[in-house]
């Protein structure tokens, strides 16, 4: 792997950019790997990367049925924050956020992490109480957040209307080190780093079956032939249910569509991320100038990666009251991703009833922000069978009633 640097840019500028080479290899699958990860999205690639970096396991294949980062990694609103209420969630999301801080240097790939600050508006008294509570919880968890006044909200976001007739802004939960990152670059950066460690990233390779021997995982059948493995990690977000069925167990998960949209690009007008959970919408401005807007999820099972007009209308109508200046913006495009929702809106990072098979899913609407932390914990779980970061997120928590209830804590939009 050639290192990217200012020197490399200068050198290639003098060579007509002929020396860059591929960022990652496209190898033929081997017959056997120590570890197979299914799903080359952010979480799958991060898991592979930390398996190699932290545990020296590099005989790893990452199988992807489509193309790298083509699922929810490419379909989110790129927001990174860790202001969660419950201790296990705060721990894993804060681990992720802190890894994002130095991810570009670690991967030698610019993921454009921009800690511009994330603001969660409180527009009802219930939200005021909820976010004040979260701020106190975060102080105990070592997550840097604070409760800020409406005047401070207006100072940080001049385009906001804080005395909207229906939902005035009563304050906000402010996480100054939250922000955004370039979503594709996160997947590409991890892929490049994995490939450099000798791992195989195999695209256009759909898993069609999971082989079992004596109650243990033995390998997978794919559209490119059977591949054996010692350990298998299923990291496929919305399609987890389909793979779980192949492995012979069911999950407490339902897949629904979550959608987002972007406006035409405009001049810089808002340099923080604003989430308004009561009215159900969140917005940030991309480096290109587009307003990136996210809304709510469908309530019914859905595997079609597209949105619906009435959700767009609902989200935009809600945001227009809080941001009157966007009322005349044209919307450029909208898209949907399939999110895997658990009952308590917290993820599952767990061993499964099938020995040697691990699953990482259920991130619901909070997948992108957690990529490095999820990969870190999942790699530890797969390598050692135990991880402090993921212990609370086991599948058995449903049976045992130890929910990590974030659906109330985070409102509706994660």
């Amino acid at each position: 792997m050639k290192r990217y640097s200012a020197f490399a840019v200068a050198r290639e500028a003098l060579r007509n950019h002929k020396g860059w080479g591929r960022a990652w290899a496209a190898p033929e699958p081997k017959r056997h790997y120590d570890v197979i990860i299914v799903g080359a999205g952010g979480h799958g690639l991060a898991t592979a990367y930390y398996l190699g970096r932290n545990f020296g396991i590099t005989n790893v294949a990452v199988l992807e049925k489509g193309w790298l980062g083509g699922g929810n990694t490419g379909r989110n609103t790129t927001i990174i924050r860790s202001n969660y209420l419950q201790d296990p969630s705060a721990a894993i999301y804060e681990k992720a956020r802190s890894l994002y801080e130095t991810l570009s240097q670690d991967l030698n790939y610019n993921v454009m992490y921009s800690p511009r600050g994330v603001m969660m508006l409180a527009q009802t008294q219930a939200e005021v109480r909820g976010y004040r509570r979260t701020a106190h919880a975060n102080a105990l968890q070592g997550v840097q957040t604070e409760w800020i006044s409406p005047a401070r909200v207006k100072e940080l976001v001049p385009i906001i209307n804080i005395d909207g007739p229906r939902y005035p802004v009563l304050g906000a939960l402010w996480q100054a080190r939250g922000g955004t990152a370039r979503h594709d670059a996160v997947a590409w950066g991890y892929a490049r780093a994995c490939s450099a460690m000798g791992m195989h990233i195999i695209q256009q390779c759909e898993v069609t079956g999971i082989r079992r021997e004596n109650g243990r995982v033995a390998g997978v059948d794919t559209t490119r032939g059977a591949i054996a493995c010692d350990k298998l990690g299923l990291v496929v977000a919305g399609h987890s249910g389909v793979l779980a069925e192949m492995a012979g167990f069911r999950l407490p998960i339902e897949s629904v569509a979550l959608q987002a949209l972007v406006s035409e690009p405009i001049k810089p007008c808002m340099d923080v991320v604003v989430m308004a959970n009561t009215v159900h919408g969140y917005m940030s401005q991309s480096d290109k100038g587009e307003m990136v807007i996210g809304g709510g999820a469908d309530g019914f099972n859905n595997y079609t990666q597209r949105g619906s007009f009435h959700h767009v209308e609902e989200t935009v109508r809600a945001l227009v009251e809080t941001f009157p200046m966007i009322s005349r913006l044209k919307m450029l495009r909208q898209w949907g991703g399939i999110v895997d929702m658990t009952g308590d809106r917290s993820p599952i990072l767990s061993k499964t009833p099938l020995e040697g098979c691990f699953i990482n899913c259920g991130w619901g609407t909070g997948g992108f922000k957690s990529i490095p932390g999820s990969g870190w914990g999942m790699a530890e779980l797969m390598a050692t069978g135990e991880s402090a970061l993921t212990r609370a997120f086991g599948l058995e928590r449903f049976r045992e009633g130890r929910f990590i209830d974030e659906s109330v804590a985070a409102g509706v939009a994660h």
């Binding site: 399609h239 249910g241 389909v242 069925e245 069911r250 999950l251 407490p252 998960i253 339902e254 897949s255 469908d298 309530g299 019914f300 099972n301 859905n302 595997y303 079609t304 619906s308 007009f309 009435h310 009952g343 449903f398 049976r399």
Partner: protein
């Protein structure tokens, strides 16, 4: 937009009029059943990529519950039918089988 025919009032209702109620035809396991059954009843869902039976309520219409058979991968609606049943009527199963050759309804109970 999803449009479902409400078998109670006969209206073709838009998605915005309806409230989704999750997977249909769950068999209830209550007091006295095994932990395994109770867990599955509460949490485990089929979540298929394909034919799915679900409950809906015509919330902003007649207010009544009904069942729908739908494909989650294509959004095709096969049929809607009464909520007063514990499994899909044969006519609904036949309608799905006609559209999805080889498909069979499997129920875990």
């Amino acid at each position: 937009m999803l449009i479902l025919h409400c078998p109670n009032c006969g209206v073709d209702a838009d998605e915005t009029e309806l409230a989704p109620g999750g997977q249909a035809h769950l068999k209830r396991f209550g007091p006295g059943s095994s932990d395994e059954d109770f867990h599955d009843y509460l949490f485990a869902r089929e979540n298929p990529r394909g034919v799915h039976f679900e409950r809906w309520r015509h919330a902003h219409g007649c207010g009544k519950w009904f069942h729908a058979a739908r494909d989650t991968a294509t959004l095709e609606v096969f049929a809607t039918y009464s909520a007063q049943t514990t499994e899909p009527p044969q006519a609904v199963l036949d309608a799905i089988a006609a559209r999805r050759p080889g498909w069979t309804w499997r129920h875990e109970s």
